[in-house]
């Protein structure tokens, strides 16, 4: 949500509030295979975000009226925990925002999962945000891709995501909370690793065409870096023979 930036100075002497330069990512740590019961799982700590994702499937489709005889039905549940905000404790349960995010995140993976191989089944992607600090949807997509790979669900490609935006008239990669709340524009993007296709795209604020073109290049570079971290997380999991400890 962007507002005109009168009150909060987000760029001081060309540096962002947390000292980053415009095209720096926040600290990003990804762990694969952290939950034993889920078919695949991942934990992402990105800036102040802590997000856990568990994947199940393909499994029996319930309720049966959702069933598709040609392909697996993909379901996604994004939920914000009531304790995730740095401020007050909120109510449990879905909100309009979490419903929208569940949908757009599902649509990312509908592009990638080779669903025709599993007719009459469903695949569940569960995302729980345990701590939030701007960019939960892009962190969630990043986590879900790792969890799906960990589950062995066939996909055409990996995907990673990052938000680009504008604050203090500077184009920025990976918006933090203040930049997200008080900046001029926010554009979360998810890009597939091999094909470089855009699988998530939303935007608010005011941007010129040239600004968008530049931001898309930043997003591509950012997504490449994130994809490298996803690959590392998966490699570590398989090389350590699943003995890695889950530290939150």
């Amino acid at each position: 949500m962007s507002q005109s930036e009168g009150k909060v100075q987000l760029i001081i002497d060309g540096k962002r509030l947390d000292g980053r330069s415009p095209d720096d990512l926040r600290n990003l740590r990804i762990e694969a295979g952290v939950l034993g019961e889920a078919d695949g799982s991942a934990f992402v700590q990105w800036g102040g975000n802590k997000i856990i994702c568990g994947v199940y499937g393909p499994r029996e489709c319930i309720p049966r009226h959702d069933i598709n005889p040609y392909r697996a039905v993909i379901k996604c549940r994004y939920m914000m925990s009531p304790f995730a905000s740095l401020e007050e404790h909120s109510r449990s349960g879905p909100s309009r925002r979490s419903t929208e995010l569940s949908k757009v995140i599902r649509e990312v993976f509908e592009n990638l999962i080779i669903a025709e191989r599993f007719p009459n089944t469903q695949i569940d992607i569960y995302i729980d945000v345990l701590q939030a600090e701007g960019g939960t949807r892009t962190a969630s997509i990043t986590a879900a891709a790792v969890a799906l790979a960990n589950a062995g669900i066939p996909m055409k490609d990996m995907v990673s995501a990052v938000a680009v935006g504008k604050a203090g008239n500077v184009l920025l990669l990976d918006l933090g909370k203040a930049e997200d709340n008080f900046g001029q524009s926010d554009m979360p993007v998810a890009i597939s690793a091999r094909d470089k296709r855009i699988l998530l795209l939303q935007m608010d604020g005011l941007l010129t065409r040239d600004e968008i073109a530049e931001m898309l290049v930043m997003a591509e570079r950012g997504c490449e870096k994130v994809n490298g971290r996803q690959a590392d997380a998966l490699k570590r999991f398989y090389e350590e023979g699943e003995e890695a400890k889950f530290r939150m």
Binding site: E37, F83, L86, L130, M248
Partner: protein, 266 residues
């Protein structure tokens, strides 16, 4: 072709498992080689959330529960206008097990929250009277119990995480009737540390800290929470038991409770 749901398959399989479990138990150990009164590996991480005034992630075996302890300014209950409020909520997250479905809390999540709440409230480890702020305003402490991975016995894992979260909790600064986040006036300092011990009966044998598989074939389930010297909460689940069995279970609960309390303190 009607595919078999997880729940129904478990029902069929549980008949078979009980027989095999009994034959393994008769040789003196459980499927995972543990003694009948032995816990799986216990680990506790404190301070895992920056967004809460206290938090802990506990694991017993592969079962993992996260508890967040977070304050808000709330209205007191009308019959206790000078007392703070403790609210405990439980979630069996669908990512934690193929048996858990998305949706509002079901009877199992509600029972879990209420048992953890009972243990903490009876143990009187939080001084709710010190939570008074001003007329019509008190501190409310929200304990959110989130089961992240269910491999049996989420109850003990949840109580452990909740007690550890309370140990981790810092009282926030309150000014002008509002909480100043990320500024604290000191640790919460719970005055006791309730620990629960859950056991199940299979045939004539009490098994402590059941795995998911053992839970599916149990005849009786019992959770006893202790504080070192006292029993502070009891919940019998399925099945029935004799007086003597209950007293034996209490002895086990004190022993194991004390062991686990040492892990927390250490």
């Amino acid at each position: 072709m009607i595919p078999m749901g997880e729940e129904s398959r478990d029902v069929i399989m549980s008949h078979i498992r009980r027989d095999i479990l009994n034959s393994t138990l008769s040789k003196g150990t459980r499927f995972d080689g543990r003694a009948f009164d032995e816990y799986r590996k216990i680990e506790v991480q404190r301070g895992v959330l920056d967004s809460a005034e206290g938090s802990a992630l506990a694991s017993i075996g592969e079962t993992k529960v996260l508890v967040s302890s977070k304050f808000d300014i709330v209205k007191p209950f009308s019959d206790r206008p000078k007392e703070g409020v403790l609210v405990t909520n439980g979630e069996l997250l669908p990512l934690a097990s193929p048996l858990f479905e998305p949706g509002p809390p079901d009877e199992n999540s509600i029972e879990l929250a209420r048992v953890v709440d009972r243990a903490i409230r009876s143990a009187e480890c939080i001084d709710l009277e010190s939570f008074y702020v001003e007329e019509d305003k008190v501190l409310g402490i929200y304990l959110d119990v989130y089961v992240l991975n269910y491999a049996g016995n989420y109850t003990d894992t949840a109580t452990l995480a909740a007690t550890a979260a309370l140990l981790d909790t810092k009282r926030p600064k309150v000014e002008g009737g509002k909480i100043i986040r990320r500024e604290y006036v000191g640790p919460l300092n719970p005055t006791s540390l309730p620990i629960s011990t859950t056991m199940i009966k299979v045939g004539d044998t009490w098994l402590v800290d059941p795995t998911r598989e053992e839970e599916r074939v149990k005849e009786t389930a019992l959770t006893i929470a202790t504080t070192g010297k006292h029993v502070c909460a009891v919940q019998k689940g399925k099945g029935s038991l004799t007086k003597e069995e209950f007293l034996t279970a209490i002895d086990i609960a004190f022993k194991r409770g004390n062991d686990i309390r040492e892990i927390l303190k250490g």
